[in-house]
Symmetry: C2
Subunit: 248 residues, 2 copies
């Protein structure tokens, strides 16, 4: 069992902890995390986002928050977005073009600080944006928050679903419950014709293979990338059908 005996206090500052993961990077994991967080905040839930993707953090930019968080007695006070989402990211502590060249043990310490030393305010949901793959950080999170549930983001092609399968196996090893699978970049629609650039049905097949819920398909939309670039996820001002995609 890779999990050491629980030396630290159990983590209880949110009703639910949703660890958003993906086997590979670039499948839209952070985009899905930020849109889900905004969609939940819009229906009145108290939401936090912990950006644990230390090598490729992009949550601050996607949620449009920046600056140095206040510290009270070595505890981090999260920043807040316009929708009152509480956010903590490694990006608040280093510059975006600064390489994070950390070896495992340093990383472990930073992540543990993010898990145990943040003054979150009474959350319904804490979304944890995990790094892609199955390295140190995901293990550390799984060990620290046994109650976390994993949401797997994938794109339709076989290579992505294979790698996502590895993530699900890891969840098994660390006893994290897999909530379900969301498929992103499912197709691109031009003039009413859908082009399945990255293939078709990979997400659905993965959900079936894992025996978990399939939360549906999110198409490739230029507006989603634009929203991520300006710090306003489409769920913020998106058309009802885009918000509906996220509230599922």
């Amino acid at each position: 069992d890779p999990r050491p005996a629980q030396a630290t206090p159990p983590v209880t500052y949110a009703k639910r902890f949703i660890a958003v993961s993906s086997g590979k990077g670039g499948v839209g994991k952070s985009t899905v995390t930020t849109n889900l967080a905004v969609a939940m905040a819009k229906i009145g839930r108290k939401v936090g986002v912990l950006d644990a993707d230390v090598y490729g953090f992009s949550i601050p930019r996607m949620l449009g928050v920046s600056g140095q968080p206040t510290m009270i007695d070595d505890n981090i006070v999260p920043l807040r977005t316009g929708d009152n989402i509480q956010v903590v990211s490694i990006g608040f502590f280093i510059k975006e073009d600064e390489p994070v060249v950390w070896r495992g043990p340093l990383l472990h310490k930073a992540i543990n600080q993010f898990i145990h030393d943040v003054m979150w305010d009474d959350l319904d949901y804490l979304f944890l944006d995990l790094p892609p793959g199955t390295g140190d950080v995901s293990l550390t999170i799984a060990q620290a928050i046994p109650a976390a549930e994993m949401l797997v983001v994938t794109t339709p092609q076989t290579t992505a679903t294979n790698v996502a399968g590895r993530v699900a196996k890891m969840a098994e090893k660390t006893n994290l419950k897999v909530l379900g699978v969301i498929e992103n970049m499912s197709y691109f629609e031009a003039n009413g014709v859908r082009e399945y650039i990255f293939g078709k049905d990979g997400g659905k097949k993965l959900a079936d293979k894992l025996g978990v819920t399939f939360y549906g398909e999110i198409p490739l939309m230029t507006s989603m990338r634009e929203g991520a670039d300006i710090g306003q996820p489409v769920a913020t001002d998106g058309t009802p059908e885009q918000v509906e995609l996220f509230e599922k």
Copy 2:
């Protein structure tokens, strides 16, 4: 200087070492690596590919090679593709749906074995497919092969180029020369209209910022994903314009 004194023999089994990297995953780094390797092999170069992306290896599938490599006195004999490309990947030693949950030090050892204990046969080019980001593996490679040159793959959007900028900064820290930038997924063309789903000109801007060559744009093409899924990169049987894109 993060690089320890050269304790091991210098690495000289190839005329050029091209480390293909990207700040983020999912930008098409492995797709570019495999297509470049095939394009070079087609014009008669002796080519090897080392899949150092231990968390998200996909080279074996994309080049259509599988199986257990032969070992001679603890040295690995590479597998070969139909184009006579020599290939070594972590994927030959573990199953594709097995999570690679390695902490830094174990990883370091495996990568060093790939660098020093493989019987490569007289290479013109060794392409190293690095993991995305700037973690342990990229450092280990930079330390072991100081002569390696880095090719940065990015997609057009700002978040990807920001992260790619981090990789370039890391190259500076480890004294790897940055050859240039290739932009992938630049646009999708339907009915003669180009849709810039992921934005425009990010690659060119990054190359200018780093003062390196911009090797051009590769469009989103369903045929590229299909080729990667069946182990036949488009450069193998691609139309002249696709091969031309890669031979640049």
